[in-house]
Amino acid sequence: MSEMQQAVLGLFTGERILALVRAALILGIGLVIARIASGAVVRVVQRYADAQQNMVLRRAVYYVIAALAAFSALNELGFQLGVLLGAAGILTVAIGFASQTSASNVISGLFLLGERPFVVGDVIKIGNTTGEVLSVDLLSVKLRTFDNLYVRIPNETVVKSELANLSHFPIRRLDLELKLSGDEEVADVRGLLREIAEAEPHCLAEPTPAFTLLGLAEASMHVQFSVWVRREHYPEVKNALYQSIKRAFDAKGIRLL
């Protein structure tokens, strides 16, 4: 038997095999405990915390216990943790330089969790993307758009961009812009629009609908009719009002340009 073969066989002594088995058991049991503990903690606090806080707490508890189990397993195998930590420190610096973007995303994610411009379940608009927030993760925010696409936006982008939270306040103003022939009587148009708003059950009576003349041109006028609605009724009311306006204007002979 060559020296190499003897050296390799020497690694698999009974004692080392036992240590390997113990380490595997510690890691396995640790992961199971991590899963059970994270679920239990979330069940206890879920009535006091929202969906996002529950998710962060579950992951924090899981990874802390899993890390402790991993360190214990490594210790069982005879690794010197002090040396490991030292090596990890050097490795972190090297990895940090190589992954600045990822580090920036992580830091941005922490800022998002602290500032809370939105929470899981809110509908937000970033750039041209509008969707429901599914999760706020370490590196990115996940959205589900209304046409059911899964969109991943890096946290750094979210922090640097202008963001609109469409779910923050309970009511929203719906602006309807209409371009009409300059021959129409403003008072008649205003009266008709107010009647249409009153007939729409989801238009709030107050704040009262507002009629604004945005501009006049030689043969046209540009008006804005604003109504307030509950945020969940926004798309439905927008659709319904445009249809009602079209019907009413056609019946009265008012021309839209």
């Binding site: 306040f169 059950p201 238009c203 709030l204 009576a205 107050e206 704040p207 507002a210 509950r230």
Partner: protein, 269 residues
């Protein structure tokens, strides 16, 4: 609960297959007892404020958008038809703005819309709960960021009991407004917390709630809201009909004055 008449509420017995109709204000509701189910159909028609029809014979309920079917194995053929107050605050807007002089008080009688509820089964559970007249929703608060959603209601806001015009689909609440401050109190809308009020029936079939006192404090910023514990003494013969939808934490609540009496200006930019 004893049933007062004339009234549109009470316990009604049906035979298998029978359909009966209630017409109250703009609401027409038809109820039919079928095998293992109850069918309810409703529609809103032109307003008829005073007249109402109770349990008249009606054609069978078909199918459609406004039809609800409640399936049950129970053999009981009775249903309870009950009035209920709104499930949210009602923002009452007097027809004209009101002013209460400093250190003065006045009782106004404000009307709020009613809901029609159906209770089935043993123990009775509410299976149908609809407004008789479809109220407009309204935002009430200092700004569009803070406030609450309620229902809008117009009222004559009678200052004398004999001026109150009772309607079968509205309940009347006596509201004592007390101005303890040294400034003129302007009122163009009042937030009436009807969800925490009880309902009482008068012998003539009119519906009332207990009284509410709103007292503007000297700082002109807070209002003490006090709910009476019993039916209004000024209306004789009232019988308790049903309790509040939601429980009030106490009979005395202190709110900011603009949470009870306010106006929101719409910004247009």
């Amino acid at each position: 609960m004893s049933i007062t008449s004339p009234s549109w509420w009470g316990t009604f017995e049906f035979v298998q297959g029978e359909a009966r109709r209630w017409s109250i204000g703009p609401l027409r509701m038809t109820l039919q007892r079928c095998t293992n189910e109850w069918r309810v159909c409703h529609e809103r028609v032109g307003r008829s404020d005073h007249a109402f029809e109770v349990g008249a014979s009606a054609p069978a309920v078909g199918s459609g958008e406004n039809v609800a079917r409640f399936l049950t194995r129970e053999l009981a053929n009775t249903v309870r038809v009950l009035p209920a107050l709104a499930d949210r605050a009602v923002i009452v807007r007097p027809d004209t703005a009101l002013y209460i002089l400093p250190r003065q008080e006045l009782t106004l009688y404000l009307a709020s819309p009613l809901w029609l509820c159906l209770e089935l089964g043993v123990p009775a559970s509410t299976v149908w709960d609809h407004p008789i007249e479809l109220p407009s929703e309204i935002w009430f608060g200092r700004a569009t960021r803070e406030g609450e959603l309620g229902y809008a209601s117009r009222s004559h806001a009678s200052a004398a009991l004999h001026d109150v015009v009772p309607l079968p689909h509205r309940a009347t609440t006596p509201v004592l407004l007390r101005n303890r401050s040294s400034a003129l109190l302007t009122i163009d809308r009042i937030n009436l917390p009807v969800a925490v009020l009880s309902l009482y029936a008068a012998p003539g079939g009119q519906l009332w709630t207990q009284g509410v006192t709103m007292e503007l404090q000297e700082d002109q910023r807070t209002v003490a809201l006090h709910l009476d514990r019993h039916a209004p003494a000024s209306v004789p013969g009232l019988e308790w009909l049903r309790g509040p939808r939601a429980g009030a934490e106490s009979n005395l609540l202190v709110r900011a004055w603009d949470a009870l009496i306010s106006t929101v200006r719409s910004e247009v930019i």
